[in-house]
Amino acid sequence: MTPFTLSEPQRHLEAQIRWQPVELAFWLATLLPFVFAPNYLVLASQIAITALFALSLDLILGYAGIVSLGHAAYFGFGSYTAGLIAKWGWGEPLTGLAAAAVAAGVLGYATSFIIARFRHLALIMITLGLGLLLAEAANSAGWLTGGADGLQGVRMWKLFGAFQFDLYGTTAYTYSLTILFLAFLLARRLINSPFGLALRGIRENAVRMPAIGAPSPAHIRKIYTIAAVMAGVAGGLLAQTTETVSLETLGFARSADVLVILILGGAGRLYGGLVGAIIYMVARDQFSGINPQYWYFWIGTLLIAVVLFLPNGVLGGLTRLMRLVRSAA
């Protein structure tokens, strides 16, 4: 009797799923701000939220090849849901966040039927349109959303009844980082599953996938809904940690920013959005602190440099460097 051996694809998946030392180092490093930069925790919490949003875009853009210029729709929808629930007197953070996830998920599922029918350029137009529609709806529903002034009266209770959202952002960062980590675990599991492989197949050739038994539209609907849930959670986190929601959470600028962040870090890599968010937001914070008027010049320079020299994002560049070092050794 021959011993049970793993087939080739199974072994490939197994190798992918193993935790690398560098990954552990990355997550340990996310705890460093508590010790070394306690005055930067507010920024750190917003980086974590942006990273979660970028991770959500990575799932659809980087893995399934769904180009979106309106991803902020789900972010903002989650934001308003979490904000409104708190405004209406239920300020408990975790249930509020769950509600944001459900609401964004429902919206994501509803729109996924349109998304699954189109590819490429048409998708850009459709996602852009959906985003603009929702933003305009929120603007006209001033009685509900507060319109251009933003949603007022959002008051959060203490987290677990014990930790208040403080000026230093300690609670905000702990909370956002924990949620980001949980969402990351989910995304990691998802991407390294056969479902994740099928998504990459769709990205490469959506027409061929059904021929090998993987229904593209169903897969796209599934991942799009999951990504919408994640974006909604990110939006909900922002609403809860800042106790404010504005029309900008639904705005085109936010959709564009997150796309830039993902490309900067490296699309189609689990850590792409995370690394991109860290680089972009820290650079933004530093440049705009030095020169509040013309800091966009430096951001622009940074982006052009990355695109020119690291076409696959910072992570893509790092991988190439590692390969060079290894082959040289």
């Binding site: 920024l43 603007n139 319109g147 230093y168 800042t242 404010t244 504005s246 900008e248 705009s288 602190g289």
Partner: protein, 390 residues
């Protein structure tokens, strides 16, 4: 020996700098320095700079230091974060600036939580000052101008008015305030239109307003390219300013707007609190030094920031350099002074601005198209907060 001397001098230098550090007062300035609202923010920054140039950078024996932060436009989440960071990271003693309402509202929370003095130098939505008991405002409020204009219109023989406003928050606020002022006085609103925020062609809206046969058409528009487009439509549709008065808030006929409108703007009547053409010796001196420093005329943004710095300086003088929110806001309450815009004060009850609302008409004087004040309502408080108390 030399080493010890070097060490001693380093210690001495450190001691001196830390002593100096205690002698500085830091003001965190939050504005939209980049993006769509960069120009208004630059005008505000100029107002701040001019004040510090004229009155020095030392108050009550302490040096004033500005820490500037950019929100990049409407972004309450960023404004709130910047306010938090300015307080915990940069140790600022107070917050100032705020071109935009959502940003001011978000930072107001931080001011209340951290008990820091905050000077709102522009954002004009009425409720902003209720966000923090340590906040004062030195610009204006939307009801202050438009409700006053509504009441003024009825007093000046206008009985039926038609209104058209930009379809977003500030436009709705302007509409509501004008309606209230006009109706409370006894006037009748015979039609109200809202046009899209990004509207470019106003002929249809103006035609409808004309067909309504009102005594006056009230228009609320943000700055930018729209006033010129409205002026053009008014001229094209043949609105006769002797028969139908055109009313609006000052932005409709700002310096830039009038440049673009040209003669089409003649006869428009607006309510506003500041114009570079305001005739007073204080303002003449202000405009002159402003032009010398920055090569352009000051506007309402510059005036709001200039007066905001005045409140900060005078409050610091009163407290003798004490910077806790409680002392500063108490010192600011009830403060009265002669501003470039005329007499103004901080209402001790609401911490909001009290000032003269000028009624101006666009006229051509010496080949220049300018706003000419021909009537005024003195000592106007924010009517919104007065109504809230009842």
């Amino acid at each position: 020996m030399r080493k010890i001397f070097a060490l001693a001098s380093i210690v001495a230098v450190l001691a001196v700098t830390s002593a100096q550090a205690q002698q500085t007062i830091k003001i965190g300035v939050i504005l939209a320095y980049s993006g769509q609202f960069a120009d208004p923010s630059a005008q505000m920054d100029n107002g701040i700079k001019l004040y510090m140039k004229q009155y020095g950078d030392t108050v009550a024996g302490k040096k004033i230091e500005l820490v500037r932060r950019d929100t990049g436009g409407i972004a309450p989440d960023i404004a709130k974060r910047l306010a938090q960071e300015l307080i915990v990271r940069d140790n600022v003693d107070m917050l100032a600036g705020f071109a935009l309402t959502p940003n001011a509202l978000a930072a107001g929370d931080v001011s209340a939580q951290a008990k820091k003095f905050m000077v709102n130098m522009n954002a004009a939505t009425a409720i902003i000052t209720t966000k923090s008991p340590y906040m004062v405002r030195t610009s204006f409020t939307v009801p202050q101008l438009n409700q006053t204009l509504g009441a003024w219109a009825y007093k000046n023989a206008i009985r039926k008015a038609y209104t058209m406003v930009s379809d977003f928050g500030p436009g709705h606020d302007g509409e509501a305030a004008f309606h209230k002022g006009f109706r409370d006085a006894g006037g009748e609103i015979i039609g109200a239109a809202r046009y899209p925020v990004a509207n470019q062609d106003f002929s249809a809206f103006v035609q409808r307003a004309k067909d309504a046969n009102a005594d006056a058409i009230y228009i609320w528009t943000p700055g930018g390219p729209q006033p010129a487009a409205i002026g053009k439509a008014l001229a094209e549709r043949g609105i006769d300013s002797n028969k139908t008065k055109i009313l609006g808030q000052g932005e409709l006929t700002s310096e830039d707007a009038l440049k673009n409108m040209g003669e089409a703007g003649l006869g428009i009547i607006t309510a506003f609190h500041y114009d570079y053409n305001h005739q007073s010796s204080t303002n003449t001196a202000f405009v002159k030094s402003y032009k010398e420093s920055f090569g352009r005329n000051p506007d309402m943004f510059s005036a709001g920031a200039f007066d905001g710095m005045h409140v900060i300086y005078e409050a610091l003088k009163k407290t003798g350099g004490k910077t806790d929110g409680e002392s500063l806001v108490e010192a600011a309450k009830g403060m009265e002074w002669e501003s470039p815009r005329g007499p103004m004060a901080i209402d001790p009850a609401t911490r909001d601005v009290v000032q003269t609302v000028y009624i101006r008409r666009v006229e051509k004087i010496g080949g220049q198209i300018v706003n000419v004040e021909f009537d005024k309502v003195e000592n106007v408080k924010d009517p919104f907060k007065a109504a809230m108390k009842n």
